[in-house]
């Protein structure tokens, strides 16, 4: 057991997999010699050398295209796209190429690759460097999509992603990089597709992802201590595959559902889950399922504005309280 930052967990996770399998290679902008602009890949270049850890030009299409071609032919590439907002300049690979090539080829082509990216708000970077874009990927058939909320899960899910035979989009939350958590020694490998009940509760289910997990937990504490509302908090962890069993199981016990989403409202992951629960667990629900999201706006840069755009602990608690007490 050691205390590790989320940032350092990224490097440890990559190192764990690169040490295990010589076919794991890693490419991206400024990731090698400089150790990454978020310092999340420090030491990998030194440990695994210039053939396995490679700096690229500012060419996101080339990065993902090259990762795909390498994956198709036998390597297990990890590609970094520095900010998830930049998925927009290489979205063809994500949406049309590696997501679809296995299907189109009737199973002839494989794409075992991982795209890691810095996602989410909180750094006061403004509208083009702060987005939460998990839904950009969740909506594309053929991808797997994960978003860890803590250092241990960073390593476990990254290992699972690297070992997975399908393309996996791995969302690291920029605002979590400096956060710390206990991490067991030795190899850590999770399975994709399992949610975690991080706080059991009986009155309502709060689903959260990444940065919203600690906030949902804090809101649950407030709700319990101030209003006697006992919330179960589920860290969704993996959007695809989606652990609907855990989610539906929780709702069956609590009878109320709240999603806590960092993404702007429309077509967020919470909408999908609400539609599943509303269809399959309609008669379990004692009241309307409620989505707590960032409003449907681009993100502002100013701290004072950014702080009120995302769901805050107060807003989450207040919204749940209002719904539960009405």
């Amino acid at each position: 057991m050691a205390e590790l930052t989320y940032r350092d967990a990224v490097a440890r996770g990559i190192a764990q997999e690169m040490a295990r399998d010589p076919d794991v290679v890693f490419l991206g902008e400024d990731i090698a010699k400089a150790g990454g602009v978020f310092k999340a890949t420090v030491g990998l270049y030194e440990q695994f050398g210039p053939l396995r850890v490679r700096d690229t030009p500012i060419s996101e299409q080339a990065i993902l295209g090259a990762a795909m071609g390498a994956a198709m032919t036998g390597l297990k590439p990890i590609a970094e796209i520095m900010f998830s907002d930049f998925f927009a300049v290489c979205f063809d690979y994500i949406a049309n190429e590696f997501a679809k090539s296995r299907y189109m080829s009737n199973g002839q082509l494989k794409c075992p690759l991982v795209v890691r990216t810095g996602n989410g708000a909180g750094s006061r970077f403004g509208a083009q460097h702060s987005q939460s874009v998990e839904n950009w990927c969740m909506m594309i058939p053929g991808l797997k999509v994960v978003a860890p909320s803590n250092p241990r899960d960073v390593i476990g899910l990254l290992a699972a992603a690297v070992r997975d035979p399908d393309p996996v989009i791995f969302f690291e939350h920029k605002s979590l990089y400096p956060t710390k958590g206990e991490v067991p020694d030795g190899e850590i490998v999770d399975a994709l597709g399992s949610a975690k009940i991080v706080r059991p509760g009986k009155d309502a289910t709060l689903l959260a992802l990444a940065l919203m997990v600690p906030r949902a937990l804090a809101a649950a504490e407030t709700l319990k201590s101030e209003h006697g509302i006992d919330c179960e908090v589920v860290d969704v962890r993996s959007l695809v595959p989606l652990d609907t069993q855990t989610i539906l199981g929780s709702v069956a016990r609590t009878h109320r559902l709240f999603t806590v989403e960092e993404n702007p409202r429309l077509c967020g992951w919470g909408a999908e889950i609400v539609s599943i629960v509303a269809d399959e667990a309609f008669y379990d629900l004692d009241g309307p399922p409620v989505r707590i999201t960032t409003p449907h706006i681009p993100l502002p840069a100013a701290d004072i504005l950014e702080d009120i755009a995302l769901p805050t602990v107060e807003r989450i608690a207040e919204r749940v309280r209002k719904a539960m007490q009405s």
Partner: protein
Amino acid sequence: MAKVEDRAPAAAAGLNDDIGEATRLRLYRIQVEIREAEQRAFDLFLQNLVKGTSHLSLGQEAVAAGFAAAMKPGDLSFCTYRGHAHTLARGVPIEKVLGELMQRDNGLMRGKGGSMHLTSAEHGVMGSYAIVGAHLPIACGAAWRAQYKGAKDVAVCFFGDGTTNIGAFHEALNFAAVWKLPVIFVCENNLYMEYTPIGDVTAVQHPAADRAAAYGLPRIVVDGNDADAVYRAAGAAYAKARDGGGPSLVECMTYRHSGHSRADPAKYRPEGELEKWKARDPIKLYRERLKQFGIADNVIAAIDADVRRRVDDATEKCKTAPMPPRDILTKDVYADGGFAWRN
């Protein structure tokens, strides 16, 4: 038309046969097979047996033949929607190609990919891509694997003139050059993007070759209707790639005899242009070439007949092949064989 740096008469003049009869016959056979199979595909449209779209390479056969004949078995091809020619040239059975065009169960991908996505991994055809430019970076990745593994295979990526104006072209060329990847970018300049002349939308005369210098690469323009010229250029590029010399960008001047795709009667072409190019039909030219090198008429005729018979056979097999079963609809989205996104 463009200046062309390598012309048949030069070789024929001295009858200096650097290519050899076996290879010449192979070059001829590949071209005829593409021609016959694609003409058959066109006939099958007219009988409404080919569904969806289809992009033929009639008139461009020499490019596919020249590059394929110079390839080694482990080399990997990356094609576009206009990829039937390159797929056949790698030895993929005609039946499997026509079957895919006819969306039958015997097709290369059992109808799941369709005419624009021909793939035969066992023959090194690593996919046909229908988003213009997308496969250039992908080919880089395959070449990167070869470089990383110390393998000697080469990735070859075919695309059209119009593709040179999209961003992925630029990113791939620079990336390949900087990493010195064993990849060959083959631009088949057939003078048109979809319906618009390439000259109307491109700042330079040779959309690929005139940009080679932007990536530190030499300028290469080849007569794409002369299979020998293509074969030689291909050989040089393969050798360079296998020697660690990095990528090549080869522009082959050619022309498509039919429209862009099935839907296109190609009325935008100036009068006389098609005729001018048909006078330089690659197969006609190559038949003359063979004769110049003393190949007997009956040898040529035997190849023609054999190819025709095989195309006929394949056609019959496809016509009686079953449609794909419904249950493959949701198969092979993920590696576990299914499409489950939830538990």
